[in-house]
């Protein structure tokens, strides 16, 4: 098994693992960001160059460095390879350049876009991007398109990551959309506006890293950070039925698949938890679902601004304080603090 060192952390990985997968095994602090690579979709990756890393030692046998940054999602590890990601200034600059390229045609309509708050390009822009664009030409513009009655395509925002195309190829049985034209004028399109009406077509919304493919039933309903994510499940004969409900008050505004820490749809027993369109678009009452509990949201995410996890956090803090007190004095919560109905003021 080859040993690889990424940002000073050494890990042993199976043969044929890519640098990116090895970095993800170590953890999010060394894993490079990705825009097009999706571990659940075969042959994805290699388009966006966001995951660039520096290989400062090719392998044990041939310790020469690779001449230029490599895309970690497509490069396999060798025994004794040394990789620099966040520790390399050169890579940080290269990534800033990639972000600038991705934003060349991306409109600055985050205040309007429904993806804002859970958008990977937004995160990437904040981490690596510059506040000003050097691009002097007009951005390319497309008309908004309806793909079927539930999905909307904003081609302006698309970064051509091909994830939705691969999803349609690998998850649904026939693909009716693809990337038309080339270069500057390339766009996602269906054959003569044909609607995608496959049972699993809604998953293209979940894999889209930007706001190009959005849920029409959720359009302008609420900002992501005003909704509360709750994990739920139901018996579905078509899909795994494990979903995330996004509540505002008692209303389910949106249903999505559950995402893992890499922003990808979660797997259960090795099978990816894609959800069907019935679960996604038609089951929007609490009565349809069995609630599993609140979703875990990173406290750095703007979604956690609705103080959703505060109750749990409060309880664990109190428990810790209790342990720290010398004579086992009793700490009590304020009246009604643990009442679940009390959560939203």
């Amino acid at each position: 098994m080859p040993k690889v060192t990424i940002d000073g952390v050494t890990i042993e990985v199976p043969n044929g693992t890519t640098i990116l997968e090895a970095a993800r095994m170590i953890g999010p602090e060394v894993a490079p960001p990705t825009m097009c690579y999706y571990s659940k979709l075969k042959t994805s990756g290699g388009y966006c160059r966001t995951c660039l890393v520096k290989v400062s030692q090719g392998s044990e046998k041939d310790p020469r460095p690779m001449p230029k940054p490599v895309a970690s999602c497509r490069t396999q590890v060798m025994d004794g390879m040394v990789v620099e990601n966040n520790t390399s200034q050169e890579i940080q600059e290269a990534r800033a350049g990639v972000v600038e390229f991705l934003l060349v045609n991306h409109p600055l309509d985050c205040p309007v876009c429904d993806q804002a708050g859970e958008c990977h390009l937004q995160d990437l822009g904040y981490e690596h991007g510059k506040s000003e664009t050097r691009f002097e030409f007009p951005r390319r513009e497309f008309e908004r398109k309806d793909i079927g009655d539930k999905i909307q395509l904003h081609m302006n925002r698309c970064i051509l990551c091909y994830r939705c195309v691969k999803t349609a190829d690998q998850v649904t049985d026939c693909r009716v959309h693809g990337v038309m034209n080339r270069g500057e004028v390339a766009e996602i399109s269906t054959y003569i506006e044909k609607s995608i009406d496959n049972d699993f077509s809604g998953n293209v919304i979940d894999v889209c890293p930007v706001g190009a493919l959005t849920d029409k039933t959720f359009r302008f309903q609420s900002r992501v950070w005003f909704t509360k994510p709750v994990d739920a499940h139901r018996d579905c004969d078509k899909c795994c039925g494990k979903v995330r409900l996004w509540y505002k008050g008692n209303e389910v505004l949106r249903v999505t698949a559950r995402k893992d820490q890499w922003g990808e749809v979660e797997s259960y027993d090795g099978k990816t938890g894609w959800i069907c369109n019935t679960c996604r678009f038609d089951k929007k009452t609490t009565a349809d679902w069995t609630i599993d509990g609140p979703s875990k949201i990173s406290r750095h995410s703007v979604i956690s601004a609705n103080h959703y996890n505060s109750l749990k956090a409060l309880k664990s803090t109190l428990d810790r304080q209790k342990d720290a007190l010398p004579h086992g004095e009793k700490v009590t919560l304020g009246h009604g603090a643990l009442d679940p109905n009390n959560e939203s003021k």
């Binding site: 600055l108 309509d109 985050c110 205040p111 309007v112 804002a116 359009r219 302008f220 309903q221 609420s222 900002r223 950070w225 005003f226 703007v302 601004a305 003021k345």
Partner: protein, 196 residues
């Protein structure tokens, strides 16, 4: 008794002197102080007939601005609401229809926009968070009212009218003012500029 802290002091109970026991000299002294205040400058003014001069950076009642062409700037992005420490702002968005381009700048707009003036602490974070230069705090004082409901200001009270624009330039530095008026930036272009 056991001492709980070392900060307690023994109280000395002193006998009153003759002057103190007479009481009247002390009362007259107090009355004189009260009397002297009658001839001093008053600390209060007769608001609302009179108003005080406000500082140039005074933060009072909010305004939702329109752009030069009269279209509402707010796009209901929710950043003011998430920035608000007092959770005073709520909003609901709607989609702009064809033909309403002169009313709303973006394809989404705030159908309902409410600020609870009883909750608001006038910190100005909403103004700082706004990416569209839509919300500003002005030098107007929020009027008082008899019911709580009246203190929740909707769009009818917040959005400025086309005829009576609210001047917010007094609080901006020259650099900021320049940034907010330069037509080079997308956020300063009206729908009329885009047509050209």
């Amino acid at each position: 008794m056991m001492q709980l802290t070392n900060r307690s002091m023994q109280v000395a109970k002193k006998e009153l002197t003759l002057m103190e026991r007479l009481y009247f000299p002390a009362i007259i002294k107090g009355m004189l102080i009260t009397l002297s205040h009658l001839f001093k400058r008053k600390a209060t003014i007769k608001y609302p007939d009179q108003t005080r001069e406000l500082s140039a950076v005074y933060r009072g009642q909010h305004v939702l601005k329109r752009d030069e062409a009269g279209a509402e700037r707010c796009t209901a992005c929710g950043l003011c609401a998430v920035a608000c420490p007092a959770e005073a702002i709520t909003m609901e968005s709607a989609e702009r229809k064809k033909g309403e381009e002169s009313m709303y700048r973006e394809e989404k707009y705030a159908k309902i926009y409410e600020i609870n003036m009883l909750r608001c602490i006038f910190c100005g974070l909403c103004e700082e968070a706004c990416p569209k230069e839509a919300i500003f705090l002005t030098d107007r004082i929020v009027p008082s009212s008899f019911t709580r409901g009246e203190e929740v200001f909707g769009k009818d009270k917040l959005v400025e009218t086309v005829e009576h624009r609210v001047d917010v330039t007094k609080r901006q530095t020259p650099e900021v003012l320049d940034f907010k008026t330069d037509k080079k930036h997308y956020h300063n272009q009206t729908f009329l500029d885009k047509k050209k």
